[in-house]
């Protein structure tokens, strides 16, 4: 993971103070190969010569806009790009992402947010191509392996059906938070899943039979009346 901090980062913004501030934050986070540019022309030449591993682009630049700069860079490089724009309109966001940007942050931003998103992109792009594994976690007596879709209970293996698995994944992604039944239906049956609420209840009951000691008095998979469900997971550190 440490080698991510070795990556070369290019910051393009016409405001020198913004450049200074971002550079400062990144250095504090441990990045040390940082380039800065104030306009499209110098940004392009740095891209050609320095071959940065990541670029943070402003949308409004003195000699053009970030979108056309992105297109120019894309002609010779697949460098991941994050837009940092003072324009918050949805159109701009969609345009930027549609052109192949990896993320779009609207100013003003919190430094932590910028660093988190940057790290997420770097991880996705540069980490060793390890198969992303779904987690395994414990719920009281049971342990649930989402990767192999199996519940271990009293030395027995209870396999999960595809639908039960999809429900548990969605609930686990939002553990300890309420997930609306609409969102669960959408996760399992896709868009236009209206009318599956009763079917969802049936599947939830089957999930409970596998993960709850007493399915009629659930303590892990709770019903939030009128809204949806909530999976209580106690983190074991």
């Amino acid at each position: 993971m440490e080698n991510l901090k070795d990556k070369k980062i290019l910051i393009v913004d016409d405001e020198p103070e913004i450049r200074t501030m971002i550079e400062r934050f990144l250095r504090k986070e441990g990045f040390f190969r940082i380039y800065t540019a104030a306009d499209c022309a110098s940004a392009l030449s740095i891209c050609r010569t320095g071959k940065p591993d990541f670029a943070i682009l402003d949308v409004m630049l003195p000699d053009g806009d970030g979108f056309s700069l992105l297109s120019s860079i894309r002609q010779f490089s697949e460098t991941p790009i994050l837009f940092l724009s003072a324009r918050g309109e949805d159109e701009d966001r969609l345009l930027g992402l549609g052109l192949g940007a990896d993320d779009y942050i609207v100013k003003p931003f919190l430094p932590r947010e910028l660093v988190l998103r940057l790290m997420a992109i770097l991880k996705r792009v540069y980490s060793s191509p390890m198969v992303e594994r779904l987690s395994a976690f414990r719920l009281g007596e049971q342990s649930i392996d989402l990767d192999s879709a199996v519940v271990h209970r009293n030395q027995k293996e209870l396999p999960l059906t595809a639908k039960e698995h999809a429900i548990l994944v969605k609930l686990y992604e939002n553990q300890n938070r309420i997930v609306t039944s609409d969102a669960l239906c959408q996760a399992v049956w896709g868009d236009d899943s209206y009318g599956y609420e009763n079917t969802l209840m049936v599947h939830i009951r089957r999930v409970r039979e596998k993960i709850e000691l007493d399915p009629s008095k659930p303590i892990h998979l709770l019903t939030v009346r009128g809204l949806g469900y909530k999976l209580l997971v106690k983190e074991i550190r």
């Binding site: 913004i18 501030m21 159109e91 003003p108 609306t180 809204l227």
Partner: protein, 460 residues
């Protein structure tokens, strides 16, 4: 186009009606004006009958009674009675040029036409043939001969005649009508386009030239005004967008350094606390700027809508779930009463989420003592509107402020200072509802307590 066809139809119908009316009118006139002169009283046939009856045989001579004499005198007529042998047996004022004796041929001749140019009429009398003559050239006599076939087919012929008349009237009216319509059509199209605010330039020649000119100038004025209005709205919106853009860069620096100081472990606790305040206020400013931008875009109808079919009940659950997941205090109790869940409206998901969220946030923010919030959604009674209601039993809004609370606070219509929040929440909801062709209605709850906010959306 439909309008033009309607005009043509009316025109043709009116023309046919007028033609039929004219025809009937003419028949009536024929009877009352043309043929009345001929219809003298009594008719020659009537008079001769009276004269024949009035002539009495007394011994060897004839005597005409007073009434018949008077009648003849009035009409300047003369009369004679021909005996069996063709001699005049009796006469009254017989002119000199009329012979006194007739043979069979003579009688046959004058009984049909004239006797020495005198129009004469004949009638039977017990003692011979009664002849009454009128002054020369006072009557024209025509003989009419009809075949039975002709008489029997007469009604058909009259109907045919009427039909021909009708067809001709129809043809003429359609020809005249279409010619007129061809001239009117550009004008009609022009006025329709005027209503659609399109630019129009009509040919100002022809009989409707001045009308076309007026429509042209009305269009020009309208275009100018619309353009000016658009320019102004765009300028206002761009101004706000520009300001919010210009605020974003300095605010980035404020937020960035303040949050850095807040996390800086070398700084004393107090300074870090103060940096935290700066950071929080900066974030408030950030949300104000983006809300202001959104509201002004909505106000000037420049906010693009990403429309799709949405069930509001889904959004309601999503908003409530977010509030609960983000640790809503136990003082607030949210209850959902969702009906007609299958109903979809055409809307922008992000904006609608924002509107619902604003309404709930509004109830939470203005009732720090806690309150019960009820979210209801259902079709209206006539099923044309979908109603989304957020109701609380909190402090509510004074009646006199209800009307103006959805105005923007920089508007002259809203003068009261805002107590809490930045005062954009409800104006934003009202504008989001309006952008969806709906509306926001605010009312006080029961006993003037609490606030009831109703969003109405049209159901497709």
């Amino acid at each position: 186009m439909e309008g033009i066809i309607r005009i043509l139809r009316r025109f043709v119908a009116t023309t046919i009606f007028i033609s039929i009316f004219l025809l009937i009118f003419n028949f009536v006139l024929l009877g009352t004006l043309v043929f009345t002169e001929n219809y003298q009283h009594p008719s020659p046939e009537g008079m001769i009958k009276q004269v024949a009856q009035g002539l009495e045989k007394q011994d060897d001579s004839f005597q005409l009674d007073e009434q018949a004499t008077e009648l003849l005198k009035q009409n300047h007529a003369w009369a004679m009675l021909l005996g069996d042998k063709g001699h005049v047996r009796w006469d009254y004022h017989l002119p000199n040029d009329v012979p006194k004796s007739y043979n069979l041929v003579d009688v046959a001749k004058f009984s049909r036409y004239y006797l020495m140019d005198y129009p004469v009429y004949t009638s039977e009398h017990t003692d011979g043939l009664m002849v009454v003559g009128y002054p020369k050239e006072s009557h024209w006599k025509y003989q009419l001969d009809f075949l039975p076939d002709w008489i029997s087919s007469l009604p058909l012929r009259i109907v045919l005649l009427l039909l021909c008349n009708l067809a001709l009237a129809l043809l003429i009216s359609i020809v005249i009508g279409t010619r007129l319509i061809r001239k009117i059509r550009p004008l009609v199209d022009g006025v329709h386009n005027l209503a659609r605010e399109q630019a129009i330039q009509l040919d100002a020649k022809g009989i409707f030239g001045d009308l076309a000119q007026s429509i042209n100038s009305a269009s020009a004025i309208l275009q100018r005004k619309t353009a000016a209005l658009q320019d102004r709205d765009e300028a206002r919106s761009n101004w706000i967008a520009g300001i919010s853009h210009d605020i974003r860069t300095p605010l980035s620096l404020v937020l960035g350094y303040a949050s850095e100081m807040e996390d800086h472990s070398d700084l004393p606790e107090e300074q870090r606390h103060q940096a935290g305040i700066i950071r929080r206020q900066g974030e408030k400013l950030r949300s104000l700027v983006s809300d202001l931008n959104l509201v002004s875009m909505l106000e000037y109808e420049m906010q693009p809508l990403h429309l799709k079919h949405i069930r509001l009940s889904v959004l309601a659950r999503q908003v409530v779930t977010e509030f609960l997941n983000n640790g809503l205090d136990d003082r607030y109790d949210i209850e959902l009463k969702l009906a007609d869940e299958a109903v979809q409206i055409h809307g922008d998901e992000k904006l609608l989420l924002r509107a619902i969220s604003n309404l709930v946030q509004n109830s939470v923010r203005h009732n720090s003592q806690g309150c019960k919030i009820i979210i209801e959604a259902s079709l209206s009674k006539d099923r044309s509107q979908y109603l989304f209601i957020v109701r609380d039993n909190g402090r509510g809004i004074p009646q006199e402020q209800l009307a103006e609370i959805t105005e923007l606070y920089f508007s002259t219509r809203r003068k009261r200072p805002i107590e809490q929040g930045h005062g954009l929440g409800l104006p934003m909801v009202a504008r989001i509802a309006k952008a969806h062709h709906g509306r926001l209605v605010l009312a006080s709850g029961v006993d003037q307590r609490g606030l009831t906010a109703v969003m109405e959306f049209p159901v497709q």
